[in-house]
């Protein structure tokens, strides 16, 4: 056995130990999801919204595809200017929801959530003050961002495992010179 193969074997062993060590703080149960910008509650609402924009079926929905992660990541960077809007509007969306339906958005039935969002989109709640923002225009931006997260490149934090590409029957990941039929 030469030095190379020994070191490879040892390397794998050591990597496993290393990974175990790193895991210690979060080992018990599911690791918590951390966000750069969003609070746990905001992320929860956004997860529900993402599943409304792209509902799960035989393929992942927005939540499972990492749309919230995408938005959070962009809010900490390129979409930084949208942070106040998200902060204000996610809470306002929940407040209006309690007003109308007597419950928080995230506990509404899926179909009730849908009709509530349809009302928001059509401008039904635009006369309410969403902390200085307009309900329907926030929804328009949110919709765009969700679609970007679901259909854009996974490098930005969404479209987990290229789920949208798989759904659209597009080869993934893209290998230059290999995907030609």
């Amino acid at each position: 056995m030469n030095a190379k193969s020994i070191s490879r074997r040892n390397f794998i062993k050591m990597s496993a130990i290393g990974a175990g060590c790193l895991c210690i703080p979060g080992c018990a149960g599911t690791p918590a999801t951390y966000h750069y910008i969003l609070t746990a509650r905001e992320a929860e609402i956004l997860d529900a919204l993402a599943d409304q924009i792209i509902p799960p079926d035989e393929y992942a929905g927005g939540r499972e595809a990492g749309v919230t992660n995408f938005i959070d990541k962009q809010l900490s960077g390129f979409y930084n200017e949208h942070v106040p809007m998200y902060r204000a509007c996610l809470m306002a969306l929940d407040e209006t929801c309690r007003d109308i339906y007597g419950r928080e958005f995230t506990v509404l039935e899926f179909d009730t959530q849908t009709s509530y969002l349809e009302d928001i989109e059509s401008g039904k709640y635009n006369d309410r003050d969403w902390n200085g923002y307009t309900a329907s225009s926030f929804f328009g931006t949110l919709r765009n961002h969700c679609l970007q997260g679901f259909y854009g490149s996974p490098r930005h934090g969404g479209n987990k495992d290229y789920v949208s590409y798989r759904m659209m029957k597009l080869d993934y990941p893209f290998l230059v010179g290999r995907n030609v039929h």
Binding site: C146, Y151, G152, M168, H181
Partner: protein
């Protein structure tokens, strides 16, 4: 540190400037080629749709950036707002070595003979500043040929009965059609049209020391990973640098064309890559910074002799801004026609580019480039769901059964569509930014409606079940096909340069980009911009070698 004096400064390394730099350097002039961007690399963005030059919600990778650049957009009601490069109202093209030619779709059209004689073909249109070019197709023909052979075009014009005459065939054979185009070919013939493969600035065979195209899905809006797409950055610019006569200076923002007391241009002032003010003196200056930025640069170059900007004695600089009134039709078909063979655009017809009875102008029609997944989220028949289950199902079920035909309708130029400089808004360097305002004429929309109807006919012949038309609004166009802001002409009162791109009244200042276009053709304009690059350079080099120092 003082920069060494050179014979020529070229501002902008895109389709026009790249060609000019090469021709001048080969002709023996010492050249500094300025580019505000950097070298773009495929590996830095690879197949990332969200930063492509086609859809750029997360910023346009090929530049410019949102941090340092902005413009003022004025809508038709006169409302102004500040816009950034990843907003459509910015009318962005690109900012990198090669500019738009790195990420373009690379259609390589020659304008038709009528495109150069718009006014005499269609007469005067109310509210327009329509005019004929001071040069004809015959003048430019040898320069089209030069562009095709120097940079590389794959095509076969002999299958297009409406093609203008040519001396020499394309240097490379045309591309084979993808499945969608094969389907559309039969349909076009059935409809009585004359289909043929789109000429492309893309290698169909090894050419210029670069390999053939691998038919990727991510072509338009992206750089090519194997360098099969022919831009100025991988053809003429390397040749220019190899002569030893040309220095490419990247990340330099030119902000003023400098003049002396006699009204002669002495060089340019710019900010270098570390934002230091610098001066580069030259015997002649050639502006190839795009229709928006060339106009802005002229307007920002004020002096006692040119209080309103150089070349602007008759208030012509920045006027007649045009793009194309893009229109077309989309349809859904029974069979899957998507076979993942890029770039998607493959087949065209020129039946309606000109000579449409009762219609002003027209457009070439071609099948559309591949719609990437995020772009496709916006492709829906009117009244469709914009989110939710139905939206997702459409994405799933129709991506491979969607066909789109598009045509760039030649606009009638109007003087109120224009680039000015803002009085209040400045960029990162403190330079007044471009202010874009204007509209399309009703005549443009009427032609677009006609052309969209022809696209519909084509899709109907293809058996599309559901068809919907797309006709543009009346907002000002520009964007990647921006042109017309420093148009050429014989009369200084209605144009900015003479027929050689030489600015009226300033003999050692030239323009060589889309700004020169009097009208923008019924086609994608890049090959014409390249041809004009050769045309202007040919004049400059010949005169220079005869001892003319302008």
């Amino acid at each position: 540190m003082t920069n060494k004096h050179v014979n020529a400064v070229v501002v902008g390394s895109g389709a026009g400037g790249g060609v000019v730099a090469k021709e001048l350097a080969v002709g023996g002039l010492s050249v500094v080629l300025f580019e505000r961007g950097k070298w773009a690399r495929y590996d830095d963005h690879n197949n990332d749709e969200l930063t492509s030059q086609r859809t750029f919600p997360l910023g346009a990778y090929f530049g410019p950036d949102n941090e340092r650049y902005r413009r003022v957009a004025v809508d038709q009601h006169g409302n102004e707002r500040i816009v950034y490069p990843n907003d459509w109202a910015y009318h962005n093209n690109a900012a990198c070595v090669g500019s738009g030619t790195v990420s373009y779709g690379a259609m390589a059209w020659r304008f038709m003979e009528e495109c150069f004689k718009f006014k005499s073909t269609y007469g005067h249109i109310e509210g327009s500043s329509t005019a004929d070019w001071p040069i004809t197709y015959d003048d430019l023909e040898p320069y089209y040929e030069k562009a095709e052979w120097d940079i590389g075009v794959a095509g076969d014009d002999y299958r297009n009965p409406f093609a203008p005459w040519r001396r020499r065939a394309h240097p490379m054979p045309p591309f084979k059609h993808n499945r969608e185009a094969r389907m559309l070919e039969g349909a076009a013939i059935k409809a009585g049209f004359h289909p043929f493969p789109i000429p492309m600035l893309r290698n169909s065979i090894p050419y210029g020391g670069r390999p053939p195209c691998i038919r990727m899905r991510n072509c338009v809006g992206f750089a090519c990973p194997v360098n099969a797409k022919c831009g100025t950055q991988n053809t003429v610019i390397p040749v220019a640098i190899d002569t030893g006569n040309c220095e490419l200076r990247t990340e330099c923002q030119v902000y003023e064309v400098m003049t002396n007391g006699n009204g002669r241009v002495t060089g340019v002032a710019y900010f270098d890559e570390r934002d230091r003010r610098q001066v580069q003196t030259a015997d002649i200056v050639i502006l190839s910074a795009s229709a928006t930025e060339t106009a802005r640069l002229l307007l920002n170059s004020k002096s006692p002799l040119f209080p309103d900007g150089i070349g602007n004695s008759y208030d012509q600089v920045g006027r007649n801004l045009q793009g194309h009134a893009y229109c077309g039709a989309d349809g859904l078909v029974e069979e899957e026609v998507y076979d993942d063979v890029g770039p998607g655009a493959s087949i065209a017809i020129c039946d309606f580019a000109h000579n449409n009875p009762g219609i002003t102008g027209g457009a070439m029609l071609a099948n559309e480039f591949i719609r990437m997944p995020y772009l496709f989220t916006g492709v829906r028949p009117p009244g469709s769901a914009r989110w939710g289950k139905a939206h997702k199902d459409f994405q799933k079920n129709f991506f491979k059964r969607h066909v789109s035909i598009r045509g760039p309708v030649q606009e009638v130029p109007n003087p109120e569509s224009r680039v000015q400089v803002s009085q209040e808004v400045k960029d990162h360097w403190g330079i007044p930014v471009a202010r874009i305002s204007g509209f399309k004429l009703d005549e443009d929309i009427r032609t677009a409606r006609f052309i969209a109807g022809k696209a519909e006919e084509w899709l109907r012949a293809a058996g599309a079940a559901q068809i919907w038309l797309s006709v543009p609004g009346t907002g000002v166009s520009g964007s990647q096909h921006q042109s017309g802001t420093c148009r050429m002409g014989d009369d200084p009162q209605s144009s900015v340069t003479n027929r050689y791109g030489q600015v009226h009244g300033v003999d050692n200042l030239f323009v060589a980009d889309g700004s020169l276009h009097v009208t923008n053709g019924a086609f994608n304009p890049v090959l014409t911009i390249m041809a004009l690059g050769y045309w202007v350079s040919d004049y400059v080099v010949k005169e220079w070698n005869h001892g003319n120092r302008f």
